[in-house]
Subunit: 309 residues, 2 copies
């Protein structure tokens, strides 16, 4: 059984491996590393890449922080997937430890999708612990074959560990990565899960093995999607559409994303939290794509409940 | 004494006058009008301008809506300036009426400031009513003479009505237009007030006269600031700085602005709410301006408590 130090070390190694794979796929730019410490305890290693041949702006962040358990933990139980709840009673005065890797990559080309991944581990000193994570893909133009490939890979990893996980966590991603005021999903979804601990048929160790497989899936799946699309030529109009879609990405991250909101409210490290924002974004009043255009087709696929596999 | 219909008519006329003044100052583009109705009652007239000679993207929105008083009204009392509180007790089941004009203008040139203005009137059918409003200026490069001029004009209007208003409402603007996670004000501030009703030395009618003067101040002050700066040439580097500052404007509006948050949470008209966002915005990881540059000088002036007059 891995302890928290071993989990954090595994995550650092994951960060290394993902950065290497992305540098190879880009072929031009390298990640720059910034390490930081948190006055209340712990710190992180933020890696950012910019102005690459493929990757315009992106970050792969590792952090491992500790301190007094924040009050919000004892409110949000709507998505507890384990039974009994891993949290137990009000935990005031408890110390927590949290470690994870977070990724957002914005490519230069509007034909290469933006992607996000997060894997996180949390524990308190009363023995409560859980795993969370997710991957979701945001194409500016949905290529059905790529969408099917992406979801099929996620399903394969889920199915290896539990027959219900893909369906459950795909639905959760549809609900989570949703821009309510636009009535649009952020992209074509993926999987999302939180507070995964142990259940009748899954020990914590089995869930840990699933969680590690999710982390290790990121690099090969995204590199494949990059390679399928990076050499396609694109127009100014497609670039402008990408900027408008990135505006929606900004709206999701600043209005809805729980990690962003929690980070900003609790005096987190702003630059690491907001490394998820794109280099450029655009807004136009009441923009509507042309009828039957590729842009409109993509918009029609930004809905909950589409079965890609 | 004006009733709510007369106040709404006055606001529509204000919208007309401001749009004319801005079209004259721009000299090229015209506002386009979109009228809309709200299923729950009322509607609005949104006017937007784009790709002007001076004004890249902006909106001047009038709305007058009614319905059941939203629950949030009975929570936020931190900024009540009148005594006794105009709200009174829990008002569940009460009907409300709210009307206002909201403006955000993003010019093309980084040397012409972005500006925001709002004047609003609210009443409930138990006789409770109040006025709110504010103007704040967001230069991408602070020109001290312009900042002094802007605040002097606001002070003159405030002083005409009450000796304490400028100081009180200037401080309120410093606190309101603040990006906490950046420890920066959005711009050089201005004035902000809410729930203005009546007090020992100010009748509602006197406050209404103040509020109308604030609305009428907008056009002449902003046109003067446009004319002082619109013909200055600017560099690519200054344009890039403007886009980064606009990223901060987006952060303020999506993370902190109460009107935006309330509008998005209560199923408001998204396009009218988010007309405040700029055509283009940009983010760079951990960007720091050069030592002693104009950009750094501006950043050092984005603080609370600066006395411009």
């Amino acid at each position: 059984m891995m302890n928290r130090t071993e989990i954090a070390e595994w995550l650092k190694q994951l960060q290394d491996n993902i950065c290497s794979a992305l540098e190879n796929a880009d072929g031009k730019s390298k990640f720059e590393t910034e390490t930081w410490t948190r006055p209340e305890g712990g710190g992180g290693r933020t890696r950012v890449i910019k102005n690459g041949a493929v990757l315009e702006k992106g970050g792969v962040a590792f952090s491992a922080v500790e301190g007094n358990a924040p009050e919000f933990l004892f409110r949000e139980k709507e998505h507890a997937v384990s039974s009994p709840s891993p949290l137990g009673k009000d935990g005031k005065g408890l110390a927590f430890f949290a470690t994870g890797v977070s990724i957002v990559i914005h490519p230069e080309s509007p034909l290469v999708p933006t992607i996000h991944m997060n894997v996180r581990y949390f524990e308190m000193d009363n023995g409560v612990r859980w795993l969370g994570g997710g991957i979701d893909l945001t194409p500016h133009y949905v290529v059905e074959n790529d969408a099917k490939y992406f979801h099929a890979q996620l399903k394969k990893v889920c199915d290896k560990h539990h027959p219900d996980y893909y369906k459950k966590f795909k639905t959760w991603a549809d609900d989570y990565f949703y821009i309510a005021h636009r009535q649009e999903t952020r992209g074509i979804g993926g999987i999302f899960f939180d507070r995964l601990n142990e259940s009748a048929d899954m020990s914590f160790e089995k869930n840990l093995a699933f969680w590690k497989d999710v982390g290790e899936l990121f690099a090969p799946v995204y590199v494949e999607i990059i390679n399928r699309n990076k050499n396609k030529t694109f127009s100014e109009q497609q670039k402008q559409w990408q900027l408008l879609r990135r505006g929606r990405y900004v709206e999701f991250n600043l209005v809805y994303d729980k990690g962003t909101k929690f980070g900003l409210e609790t005096n987190g490290r702003t630059e690491s939290i907001l490394m998820s924002l794109p280099k450029f974004a655009s807004w136009e009043y009441d923009y509507k794509p042309e009828k039957n255009s590729d842009e409109e087709k993509t918009l029609n696929l930004l809905k909950k409940g589409i079965e890609w596999v």
